[in-house]
């Protein structure tokens, strides 16, 4: 390479280096620094805030599909005090148990255990709802767990006694 060419290259290198200074300034604004950090944090804030809306919409849709259908479960005289009957509410897949308690009240709950979905039975002797899989006990008066692994109450089916018949009129997931 001739001396003249070398000098030419050197001068173009210098030009590039001068341009790099501009690059550094620009990069300073793009790479991680205080400004970029705040912008990323702001973006995260917006993303997380907007992520709540689909759940709100889905909740509204679920609320509209409430289980307010009125279904006849049994004749009022069909069950003696301390007896129970299985039925399904609101769909065939949602099995439930209707109990005529010793205080002569009708109560009903979906009978899938809130622990691992085993069927729950009414235990007349102890007046409790029992899940035999892992010995989960529920209070028959309110469906809340009283012993064993279940942490949540059984979904409560609202019952109404009218004209000698027991009707299921709705369902509450969280109650009392």
């Amino acid at each position: 390479m001739t001396e003249e060419k070398k000098n030419k290259n050197n001068s173009s290198d210098d030009q590039d280096m001068m341009k790099l200074v501009d690059n550094l300034n620009r990069k300073d604004d793009v790479n991680l620094n205080r400004r970029a950090f705040l912008k990323a944090s702001f973006g995260t804030t917006v993303a997380i805030g907007l992520a709540t809306t689909p759940f709100g919409v889905m909740s509204a849709v679920q609320n509209d599909k409430d289980d307010s259908e009125r279904v006849e479960i049994a004749d009022a005289n069909e069950l003696a005090v301390g007896e129970a009957k299985n039925f399904s509410y609101p769909t065939e897949g949602d099995t439930a148990v209707l109990v005529r308690t010793p205080d002569d009240k009708y109560v009903a709950y979906n009978n899938k255990c809130t622990h691992l979905q085993c069927p729950v039975f009414y235990e007349h002797k102890d007046n409790v709802l029992l899940c035999p899989c892992h010995k989960g006990y529920f209070d028959v008066n309110n469906g809340h767990p009283i012993a064993g692994p279940p942490q949540r109450e059984l979904p409560k089916i609202l019952v109404e006694v009218k004209d000698g018949k027991v009707f299921a009129v709705g369902r509450e997931y969280r109650h009392g």
């Binding site: 804030t45 997380i48 805030g49 809306t53 679920q62």
Partner: protein, 65 residues
């Protein structure tokens, strides 16, 4: 505390509010406690709107010169 610093710090406060709100909304939705979903969803949306205002205040002050 000057305006720019207040706007800067408030964005992190709104970020914390949104994180907590999202957690509560998800918990309410999957726990079928729909009445818990809406208040936290609105809190998150208001917080997001305020964060946007704070961001533009900060941006205006930051790039003034």
């Amino acid at each position: 505390m000057d305006k720019k610093r207040a706007a800067f710090l408030s964005i992190f406060v709104f970020l914390a509010v949104n994180v907590i709100s999202l957690a509560r909304v998800i918990e309410g939705y999957y726990g079928k406690e729909y009445s818990h979903v809406y208040p936290f969803m609105f809190a998150a949306l208001i917080s997001t709107a305020l964060a946007t205002v704070a961001f533009f205040i900060w941006k205006k002050e930051e790039y003034k010169n």
